[in-house]
Symmetry: C2
Subunit: 412 residues, 2 copies
């Protein structure tokens, strides 16, 4: 819900056994219209809705995403009709429940719901649109997330260094890539990234500020360790991997309750922010110890809003003194563009009918094509293109995953 | 919600300019599991739900539809792995709002929501699945229904006879096909089919009976015309075409209220059923007069539960004495299979990237490919098949609609 992140990316690959060449042409963000953002946040945060509202928000998000595509393309002078073949859309996550046994309401269904009607995106742009990747992953028995490992391992695998890709967005998620073992990668959501911090900042500034820029507020406070420990007693943190979470587990209202209690107890605003920030930092460090590769990691590549917060990063540096901290940007993937790039690639793979690498430590490792396709006016051309890519190959078995990728640098 | 109607159908067409050959191999129905049916009906009838419930019901319906496919295939000894290439799934309609200005709640959005997660259907069957046709039709500016005209006109167009295809399912809908003018067809929903009658039967039998079989209950009653006229004052009936409606306009609770009022007024159960049945019959006759072709129709082809109710059919015969009443079955399309056949064909058209005939008297006649595709394990083969169908044609323009179709008879 921070913004609609867009990338314009060009993939080339001669045959299925060649390396995939990825050229990031442009990236940027488009803000949600404030009334729609409020409406969607209400749907996410409140328990109650109607079928009518669900149907409306799906359509409104579809229009919003289509407008975002036009706005992004205008800004970067991209001609949609000639320079866009396929739109891959994650949609807005409305509900994600991967570990229902943790919720304690006795309802054992793993489910996911994301919205932004693809039929509207395709109708407004004329372009074939792909989306709904997470429901596909769940349908095949996995958790529907984080869905980043296939890309992290393609771009970060190293012959002698074990690496981690650490995202700190709303949620903090990590992918570990053992040295020289791309398909040995595994990933999970650690817990809250900036979601509780952002909510706390909104709470204490009456919504005037949306986040703790540069960690200024938290940096002036003192961590109340007993409260950090109390939050870290949430059963999600002790849950074994694989695990994924979202706003159903770590919600704004959880942060508001915490802030209210701390403020009622006479704890200063700065201390509250420092304490809530430590929840994120400490949970990350703990998860590296508990679930990271046995011999540790050599390098951590960070991205996401929280990776710019020194109160998080300095704590991690202190807890992991032998690790080299880097940014994803250093290898040619701007942090802001990273998740959009992952879903762009999944869109291409869906069209081609090729699964992405399934990481280790998941419920079932059967590779599967995920995503749904809304044909646009260019559908028959794309079908021809996809068909010719496979040429005269026998198509009885599942296509081999891409295991080599080149990033074309310096084009952005 | 009566059942999940299934068809197994084989389409062949050599090139886009040949006639489409349609062979109905098998058809049947599978009942919903009663607890899921109750849960879905509550979602449709009650105003309030949660994101979690919406996500769950979507997945549960997906599992239910996948099971229905297996049950249907078991029953007719269809080997899914070798005898099914593509699954086309309408899904369960949850919300359909085509004329929001009629609802009077000041909310001007045309929306549609249907569910039965395609990712689950494709994962369980291994087969590529197509669905979500109505949202596509709405995205292109139309009402998302009835979506029957393209098929009605293909199978019923006659050089000298003007014909109507009259469906009386939950909702009564009609398509008029002028003599010798297939693309002159137009369609709309008339109003309630059996939806109010079925609800009234449930009301008076405490849910023991689901419908008025052979019109026995209604046939023993007397119509209270003033009440019929009162129901027909609903603004939907006076609304100009195009128009479509669903359970958001004619609901079970509307029928229950009506029954309660009539019963409280001392009107007998039989009279109530007769009166409510007349609403359907009289609205159909009125709509033929108001919106039918200027010179009337020669033949009406009927299908659907309500077409078996003599209290409806005899009234129509009396009101339209010069019309020949026939059944769709006579031309090789069993009534029970008809709507499933329409969506089967739309699924094939979606894969091929070819629009179906857009009827007259709609908001915008631009042809468009509707439907969304969930690739299954056979996706790459289907892509090759679709690509080869178009061979070396230039694909810059929209594909021409099918305008000729043969029904292969006697295979069922």
């Amino acid at each position: 819900m921070t913004a609609i992140h867009c990338v314009h990316v060009h993939y080339t690959q001669r045959t299925g056994s060649d390396a995939l060449r990825m050229e990031l042409l442009n990236f940027g963000s488009v803000q949600y219209s404030p009334p729609l953002k409020q409406r969607v946040l209400r749907l996410i945060n409140e328990k109650v809705t109607t079928s009518e509202q669900v149907a409306q928000i799906n359509y409104q998000l579809g229009e919003q995403f289509a407008q975002a595509i036009y706005k992004f393309c205008d800004e970067y002078e991209i001609d949609i009709s000639s320079e866009v073949d396929l739109i891959s859309s994650h949609g807005q996550m409305i509900w994600h429940h991967a570990l229902p046994h943790l919720s304690g309401n006795g309802n054992g269904m793993r489910t996911h719901l994301d919205m932004a009607e693809m039929a509207i995106i395709a109708a407004r742009t004329g372009k074939t649109t792909v989306g709904h990747f997470r429901v596909g992953d769940q349908a095949y028995g996995r958790q529907g997330g984080p869905l980043m490992a296939f890309l992290d391992s393609l771009v970060l695998v190293h012959p002698t260094l074990t690496r981690a890709c650490q995202g700190i967005g709303d949620i903090a998620s990590v992918c570990f890539i053992p040295a020289g073992d791309m398909e040995g990668c595994y990933e999970f959501d650690i817990g809250p990234g900036t979601i509780l911090i952002d909510a706390a900042v909104r709470y204490f500034t009456d919504g005037e500020k949306e986040r703790d820029d540069n960690g200024v507020m938290g940096g002036e406070g003192t961590v109340h360790q007993s409260i950090v420990d109390e939050v870290l007693a949430n059963p999600y943190f002790a849950h074994n991997i694989p695990k994924t979470c979202g706003r159903e587990t770590f919600s704004d209202s959880m942060a508001y309750d915490l802030c209210e209690r701390m403020a009622d107890g006479g704890i200063s605003t700065e201390d509250c922010i420092a304490t809530i920030t430590r929840v994120t930092a400490q949970s990350i460090a703990q998860h590296y110890r508990t679930y990271g590769p046995a011999h540790g990691v050599h390098e951590i590549f960070m991205y996401g809003e929280g990776s710019l917060n020194p109160n998080i990063v300095n704590y991690l540096r202190q807890e992991m003194p032998n690790v080299r901290f880097r940014t994803l940007e250093e290898i040619g993937i701007p942090g802001e563009a990273k998740e959009a790039l992952a879903f762009a690639q999944l869109g291409v793979e869906c069209l081609l009918g090729r699964p992405a690498i399934v990481p280790q430590k998941v419920e079932t490792r059967a590779p599967a094509v995920i995503g749904q396709i809304q044909p646009g006016r260019n559908w028959r051309k794309l079908v021809r293109h996809a068909s010719r890519f496979w040429d005269d190959e026998a198509l009885d078995s599942t296509a081999d995953c891409v295991t080599e990728m080149f990033i074309v640098r310096d084009s952005v």
